[in-house]
């Protein structure tokens, strides 16, 4: 029953590799946005302005509580009704970046809260400003405990790029499904998608592990 066709694999490989490029690009750009924006969200929620904290809190809750698929859909198809007309790529990367920024802001929050209170007090005693305290004392110590979460999302963001297919970005899963419907064979394309994801995420996870080790050593932990 179980038949695996190698020649079919070689036939579809080039198309999948092109799609892999698209996936990498979308995920990479989205993650870059998310890393920075996530920190902004996390800090805004701890900032002095109650109103800003509330607004950002609700925004984060809304974005992370609703499916990325529908967000992408809305940015791309409903945006033009409000005069926002972005290309599929731009809307895709903004949507995915925004979505992951909300996840990362929660990861950062956990990291920040796990820094012992004594560190805040020591910074106060040196009369460091809030910004200096975050930048020099709290965030460097929050990073090691945030790294696992950040690693999870780096590995995870690749697997969310299929959401971009609803706006016609030809990423990996989209392409594999197209190949499947053309040939009525889904086994090879979808399995290859899994393997390609694995080939991307293994080095990514390895990189994070190295980074974790480096940071812990750097902190003398």
């Amino acid at each position: 029953m179980f038949d695996w066709k190698w020649d079919f694999v070689w036939e579809i490989m080039p198309r999948l590799l092109v799609a892999t490029g698209n996936t990498l690009l979308a995920a990479g750009a989205g993650y870059a946005i998310a890393i920075v924006l996530g920190l902004v969200f996390a800090l805004a929620q701890r900032g002095p302005s109650r109103l800003l904290a509330f607004v950002v809190r609700e925004l984060v809750e809304f974005i992370r509580s609703t499916p990325l698929l529908l967000q992408v859909f809305f940015v791309f198809f409903v945006g033009p009704q409000f005069g926002i007309r972005l290309s599929p790529w731009t809307s895709g990367m903004i949507a995915i970046g925004l979505h992951y920024a909300c996840y990362l802001s929660e990861v950062y929050r956990g990291g920040i809260e796990s820094v012992p209170r004594g560190q805040w007090e020591a910074s106060t005693a040196l009369n460091m400003s809030t910004i200096q305290t975050y930048r020099r004392v709290i965030i460097p110590q929050a990073i090691p405990s945030s790294l696992t979460g950040m690693g999870n999302y780096l590995v995870g963001i690749f697997k969310d790029t299929p959401m971009l297919s609803v706006i016609g970005v030809a990423e990996l899963v989209h392409t594999a499904n197209a190949i499947g419907s053309e040939h009525y064979r889904f086994l090879e394309p979808l399995t290859l998608v899994g393997l390609i994801f694995l080939a991307i995420s293994l080095p990514a996870a390895g990189l994070i592990r190295l980074l974790e080790g480096y940071v812990r050593r750097k902190l003398g932990m």
Binding site: F77, G168, E182, H183
Partner: protein, 257 residues
């Protein structure tokens, strides 16, 4: 084959289909509807088989589910294409149909076929990824710059509404159905505006192992095709005489499509 074994064991025949209007879809009770389903049920009835179980699935799950023995026959409107014939077995054709462009009401840009798109570089054509229309568009000289490949009808309609695409290439059944459902927002173009070679034949899918059952099915198919009984059932789907497959065989479609 396994299907005959099932029937011998007194188990129901499971037909699998995705939710695609006109071709095959479940009604509100989950009962199989659509012309491909009706014809399949008619032929099975002709064979004296009435113990049927309907399984609704996702489009992408149709073929893998058939292979994984989660159902026995896939209905739901499958074009008989060469690449597909290599991987599953089709019954003799049950319909022939062409494609048709769906455009905003009044067709402001006058788009009726691939050449119209090609001649107006600012236009964008929406189509389903993995569908036969993608190949057809490419063959007509269109490049990816003017093609927007989307997962399904929902996205295609959204793209037309948002002005992201100016026309969509769909099967004529779907095109007319969507136009009718759109309260006049869209209209379907004449299928004959598209080249003859884009005409396709629809078949019912079987596992390769069920070659014995398929032969019996084809025998009943020959008796049932075009019968008054069938044409009466087809009325509600807009399936007319010209949709009958005529003399075309699956063998020919596999070789030429």
């Amino acid at each position: 084959g396994p299907l005959n074994d099932r029937i011998a064991a007194g188990e129901p025949i499971r037909i699998g289909f995705a939710n695609i209007p006109v071709f095959g879809y479940p009604d509100d009770n989950g009962d199989p509807k659509g012309f491909a389903n009706e014809i399949t049920l008619g032929i099975l009835n002709e064979m004296g088989l009435t113990d049927i179980e309907a399984v609704v699935t996702d489009w992408g799950g149709l073929i893998p589910g058939l292979m994984a023995n989660r159902y026995d026959i896939i209905t739901g409107g499958q074009y008989i294409l060469g690449a597909r014939c290599e991987n599953i077995s089709f019954s003799e054709p049950i319909a022939q149909t062409g494609d048709s462009f769906l455009v905003p009401a009044g067709n402001p840009l006058g788009l009726t076929n691939y050449q119209d798109i090609l001649n107006n570089p600012d236009t964008m054509l929406a189509l389903y990824s993995g569908a036969n229309t993608v190949g057809a568009a490419r063959q007509e000289g269109l490049t990816d710059a003017q093609l927007m490949q989307l997962p399904g009808p929902t996205e295609v309609l959204a793209a037309l509404r948002a002005g992201r695409a100016d026309a969509a290439a769909l099967t004529s059944f779907e095109s007319f159905y969507l136009a009718a459902e759109s309260d006049g927002a869209f209209e379907a173009q004449d299928p004959s505006a598209l080249p003859d070679w884009t005409l396709n034949w629809v078949g019912i899918g079987f596992r390769d192992e069920d070659v014995d059952f398929r032969a019996e099915f084809n025998e009943a198919h020959a008796r049932y095709m075009g019968s008054d009984e069938m044409m009466a059932a087809m009325e509600q789907y807009g399936y007319v005489e010209s949709n009958l497959p005529g003399a075309t065989t699956t063998e020919w479609a596999c070789a030429n499509r």
